[in-house]
């Protein structure tokens, strides 16, 4: 494969964006960066979709002045990407509004802390103490309770 083949370059861009996006989502802890990661991942996926039927030398799928070009680019992926971009921005706005609220409530955007606080809140609402991460045996389970009462002899 020729390194300067335009297909290779474009696909590398798409996969590269996706890879960086996934890496960002997985590695980062800061919420905003995770949202950035999702945006990058989406961008990469969009590019990939658009490339799926790309041909060198095709013209844009628009008839200008009534002349039909010999080969036009595939309009379907373009329409799909159009849709995907708009969906992406809707979700982005939603994520940012939620982030604002979460920061207001918990005072942090670090995912680890958010998880911890969330866990605390759920436990508090349920009226149980926060389950500790240490592996303490559960003494409340009926079985062990039964086992502990007078052990058979």
């Amino acid at each position: 494969m020729d390194i300067l083949d335009i297909n290779i370059i474009l696909y590398s861009a798409a996969f590269g964006l996706m890879l960086i996006g996934i890496g960002g989502i997985v590695i980062s802890n800061h919420l905003i960066r995770i949202i950035f990661g999702i945006a990058l991942l989406e961008a990469g996926a969009n590019l990939l979709l658009l490339l799926s039927t790309y041909h060198e030398g095709a013209s844009a799928p628009i008839i200008v002045d009534g002349s039909v070009p010999a080969m036009m680019a595939d309009p379907v992926p373009q329409a799909l990407v159009l849709t995907a971009i708009v969906i992406g921005v809707g979700i982005l706005a939603l994520a940012l509004s939620l982030a604002i609220r979460v920061q207001r409530a918990y005072g942090t955007l670090d995912m680890r802390e958010v998880r911890l606080k969330l866990e605390q809140e759920i436990s508090e609402n349920a009226g149980i103490e926060m389950p500790s991460s240490s592996h303490a045996p559960a003494v409340t389970t009926a079985n062990s309770a039964a086992a502990q009462q007078e052990s058979g002899s």
Binding site: I25, G44, S52, P77, A95, L98, V102, L118
Partner: protein
């Protein structure tokens, strides 16, 4: 022209117009939503019998398939479209301050769910799926607590990640085949998608659509969301919405992806889901999260069922899905007032004997005690797996049976608490009549199923047979043959 389109269009239209209607009459805005859903449910039911004979394919906008978008209705799809509509109707969100918004969201959910079930175009499915996801964010966050916002955000991150991967999967499919129409994909798949690229596309889409179906590695949102969302929303998400996501995966599996590796992936992820969910539920100390974890386990069973090759797998998965469709919403409705620590439930059977009895019934069916429907569903899953005589399937059977014993243990720990003779210090809340009535209705469905086992099984079998009939699918949609840029 067919009225089936209205099942999707009418709820959307009403949702758009709801705030205008509210200007005119608050009363109308309150009642129009349920009425519209009732009407769409009636439409769906009226179409039901005719689909038994032959499935139906519609073209949005009247453009010939594969150019336009196809709507494919067989009983399999309509079953879940109806489940979505009726489920939303039964579990209509009731919140005092956000009535208008939650009504719109419920309408959107019903319309989207129906569309998702009926859609016959890959990208269209993706868009419906995204819309459904966004609507669920709204429903979850609608609780308005900081916990619900945080859990929505966590859900959104996982979902957004999954959706982008699904989009990449669609890109790979389109790259290989040049079409998005499922019928045409079914035609082209054996030739063009039976390779590594096809498999990669499947895995990407599986991760994407698996988020809602509580597939193992992407289900980390489940416990938090079900613990923070209102019980009705949890009931909808766990009971109905997850099934729709599963339905998509089933469709893809039946029509497009025939790799044996795909089945193995499903099987392994299903086993991991069952094991992790049921084990985690064992130590759960509040009812909501216990139900959430057990729901992960149940969905895992469905994935295991899906991994069985051939008609038997689809039939088994369908049976488990329908069973769960009745059971989980009912359980979450009971958890509405019993949420929180299980310790505090001590003696709750005194104040609400009917709810406690219903809980026992549901628990028994969930763990699969004969002659309740849960047992037969489980039987349908296990029997074909043993017949396959492969080590991984034996492992799956073992995990399922072991998980059932765990399930029996933790669910009956709750039952024991309910019937405890020393009531807890705090007084117990009594269920709202509407909640209890709905839960009873669903539970009654389970009991009725016991007496109609044979016709029910026959019906599900025929639905599964219709769903797995690829050639009918292709013939009904009848996509044009594409050739080098020209239509024949």
């Amino acid at each position: 022209m067919n009225l089936l389109v209205l099942m999707i269009a009418l709820p959307l239209l009403t949702a758009f117009l709801l705030s205008s209607i509210n200007r005119i009459s608050t009363l109308a805005a309150r009642w129009i939503g349920p009425l519209v859903l009732l009407a769409t449910a009636v439409i769906g039911l009226s179409v039901w019998p005719q689909l038994g004979a032959a499935p139906l394919a519609l073209q949005w906008g009247g453009f010939q398939a594969p150019l336009g978008i196809t709507l494919y209705a067989d009983q399999f799809a309509l079953l879940f479209a109806l489940a979505m509509t009726i489920g939303t109707l039964l579990l209509w969100p009731r919140s005092a301050e956000n009535q208008l918004r939650s009504s719109s969201l419920a309408l959107l959910l019903a319309g989207t769910g129906s569309g998702l079930a009926l859609s016959g175009d890959l990208f269209n499915i993706y868009v419906f799926y995204e819309l459904m996801t966004v609507v669920s964010y709204g429903l979850i966050a609608g609780r308005g607590t900081s916990g619900s916002f945080a859990s929505t955000l966590r859900y959104l991150v996982i979902s957004g990640f999954g959706a982008a991967l699904a989009l990449a999967g669609i890109a790979l499919v389109y790259q290989a085949t040049g079409t998005l129409n499922l019928a045409q994909l079914a035609q082209l798949a054996p030739e063009k998608l039976n390779n590594l690229q096809g498999f990669a596309a499947f895995v990407l889409m599986l991760i994407g659509f698996g988020v809602k179906a509580e597939l193992f590695p992407v289900n980390m949102w489940v416990p938090e969301v079900y613990a923070t969302a209102s019980s009705r929303v949890s009931a909808l998400l766990a009971g109905v919405v997850s099934k729709l996501a599963l339905l998509i995966i089933m469709r893809l599996l039946i029509l497009v992806f025939h790799q044996p590796e795909a089945l193995t992936v499903l099987l392994v992820l299903g086993i991991l889901g069952v094991a992790s969910g049921e084990l985690a539920a064992w130590r759960a100390r509040d009812l909501n999260r216990m139900l959430a974890f057990s729901s992960i386990g149940q969905l895992g069973v469905m994935f295991i069922a899906l991994s069985i090759p051939g008609n038997a797998g689809i039939f088994a998965a369908l049976a488990v899905m329908v069973h769960h469709l009745f059971l989980k919403p009912s359980m979450f409705l009971l958890a509405e007032r019993w949420g929180g620590s299980i310790e505090k439930l001590a003696g709750a059977a005194r104040t609400s004997p009917i709810a406690a009895a219903l809980f026992v019934l549901l628990a028994l069916s969930l763990i699969g005690v004969p002659p309740l429907p849960g047992f037969w569903a489980k039987l349908l899953v296990i029997m074909p797996m043993l017949a396959l005589d492969q080590p991984l399937y034996y492992l799956a059977v073992f995990v399922m049976l072991a998980a059932a014993s765990l399930e029996a243990n933790y669910l009956f720990r709750v039952v024991m608490k309910l019937y405890d003779k020393q009531p807890a210090a705090t007084s117990h809340k009594v269920h709202a009549t509407a909640d209890l009535a709905t839960a009873l209705f669903l539970g009654g469905g389970l009991i009725a199923a016991v007496f109609m086992l044979v016709p029910l099984a026959d019906r599900l079998d025929s639905i599964a047979a219709q769903a797995t009939d690829v050639s009918t699918y292709i013939q009904t949609v009848a996509p044009q043959q594409l050739q080098s840029g020209r239509v024949q």
